[in-house]
Symmetry: C2
Subunit: 438 residues, 2 copies
Amino acid sequence: MRDFLPADIRKRNYVINIIKEVYESYGFEPLETPAVENLETLMGKYGDEGNQLVFKILKRGEKLDLEHAKSESDLSDLALRYDLTVPLARVVANNKNELPNFFKRYQIQPVWRADRPARGRFREFYQCDVDAIGSSSMVVEAELISAVGTILRRLKFKDYIIKLNHRDLLFHLLDLANVPKASHEDALIAIDKLDKIPAYQVEAEMVGKGVNAGSASVLIDLYTKIDNAWKLGYDNNPILVSEVLSDDNEAKNYLLQLLNLLPCEKLTISPFLARGLAYYSGTIMEIVLTDGDFKGSIGGGGRYDGLIGMFGKEQIPACGFSLGLERILVVMEERGMFPPEIAESVPADVMVTIWSEETVGESLNLAAELRKGGLRVTVYPEADKLGRQIKYADSIKVPFVCVLGESELAEKKVTLKNMKTGEQETISRSEVIEALRK
Amino acid sequence: MRDFLPADIRKRNYVINIIKEVYESYGFEPLETPAVENLETLMGKYGDEGNQLVFKILKRGEKLDLEHAKSESDLSDLALRYDLTVPLARVVANNKNELPNFFKRYQIQPVWRADRPARGRFREFYQCDVDAIGSSSMVVEAELISAVGTILRRLKFKDYIIKLNHRDLLFHLLDLANVPKASHEDALIAIDKLDKIPAYQVEAEMVGKGVNAGSASVLIDLYTKIDNAWKLGYDNNPILVSEVLSDDNEAKNYLLQLLNLLPCEKLTISPFLARGLAYYSGTIMEIVLTDGDFKGSIGGGGRYDGLIGMFGKEQIPACGFSLGLERILVVMEERGMFPPEIAESVPADVMVTIWSEETVGESLNLAAELRKGGLRVTVYPEADKLGRQIKYADSIKVPFVCVLGESELAEKKVTLKNMKTGEQETISRSEVIEALRK
């Protein structure tokens, strides 16, 4: 887990603030949930691997009976939040009367997973989730995709696509190839590698995992047909290829209709896109960067009409999107995408010096006056040699220093020193504010 | 632990943003640390009671050896953050070369304590800490107090005082009364009640706890003298009372000098103010509300020159202040101190209706156009009876609805309905933006 020093936080907040602003402009409202949930709320929601990766909290005081404890569940009743979707479902089920029946929320908070840390993988990391609860209309998907696209544009991402799929379309292709249910996962994991390794290797992997050779070959054939049609351009929409899908395929038509609502060249239907299959019940979405060193996903989402029903009595349709903040930050850092005022941000606009013990009050007054003028002002903490004060100012990279020495105090002026050019001039306090305020 | 629904978060963010803005205007920089710390970092820092109240995290996988576990420490190696001071000390000790030698940081994050929940006391709550590390100069105290005062002014608090004391002054008074070290705590707890219950009861409590009757009587006498001098007004500074303190008392002179740097009628020297005595080494500070139902402390701080040395090899002077966010919020709520745009905030400026399945795209386009004009826009999620759409808009309290029906579409106009007055007019899209943008 990481400490975030000031320069990190400024970059994180720059991205988070854009995400918040855009989501709020779409009418999504902020929600925050506690870091700690009841253990039973989380158990069984993330599969066996997830159960292992949940950080569990030791029972306290009398509740901790070490002598008779036989398993983890005797020792723990609370756990750290593992994602933001399960807490949302709990909040919706618990606050039915307070929340509107169509509830749009965003939530940007850390989650914790007891994973082995690796490059770009942390045990504490932020998720940025946006979800709309209570409608099964396609308008929800359209607004989510539009909002996410706006965020990426405002962050200055250029080379990305948003892949769309539908659970039924994916399974229809598996059925066409006669892949039995037990082999779905293996087949999909292998197919996902087709844009990285040759087809014969992918086919071998599938067969090695127990997929019937005929099915493997049909699947690769389907993928290739779709991919080739795709390469002919945007108008030759691959899922129109009549060899593959009939005109009355509902999932296909759903996606075409959605595409029609969002005329944008960044969108693509990707019939083999598979993610969140344990809970996604309809639309599946993913943002993929297409240029630069990092080519993976920086976010994804989908429709999960069955999940909230696990917490209340009622089935409530829902659809959401999650942005990978940590990945976005890594890519933006590598590509130098932060605006200069963020990348080179400094703790203050100006530092005020202290001439002597007797003039401390004068320096504090000057600082107060400059702050009233809208400047961010730090004061050197003690009467000290001027050279040391300037050296400190340089070390924290403040762009200007206000020297308040004996002659300046006598003249009721200050000497303003530009730390970049070394130039300095003796001017009035109001001139300082004017010179530094942008 | 609590969920924060949208209306809560807007109020919390209003307060947090003012705190951030003010601290940044004083040159304090943001810092964030992980929720989870190594257990050994936290143990022994908060006394026996604190050790009990730390939430401990169960070891995972192979590390959890239930069979041979004999104590909590065999079961846990990580714990949840208990305050923001110990993590700061760890960060400063770990990042000596990256941080400036005089480091000013603020940190606003939740902490967790396994306390019994009570009114206004939560197991997860936010702390707002501001600290300056690396200088023992009084300038640090002066800037901290000035910043905190600015925050309270901006939040519109009027009836409060900031109490100042010095550890040496407090102990000097205890010495004057010949209170032995073992009774310091009992004596101070009793003295603290003098503004609530009669003196004879306080005296009885002290004697009951084992304080020598003579000492108890002298202490109450000292308190009364100081209190009476106080009531004569600001100029008759109580610690000037020569019967109590000699002119060369260093702690007294220190506080007078500090007061001199901060000419403000909200400041008062409070020689019996006792808090954080386990680590405060000099100045002690506390903000107390003096009017309304709630009269307690909403924040406090002090100088702790010995704490950081516990984590590194070096003793580094430090001084800080912590604001009680939860208490501030409770008081502001009770007193109606939130500005109307926060207290009555709504999820969007306007809701766009959907006429029919065929016109969904038109509604989405209108929403996009209004957003480009700077408005926050939500779209009703489906084609539905107009009455139901209006009813939903009313339930989420959006102030305006844009109706986009057949006739409006034909005329390339929209009907803008004011939800408060019920008035509506059919106007162009740019007129909508103009009408709603403030």
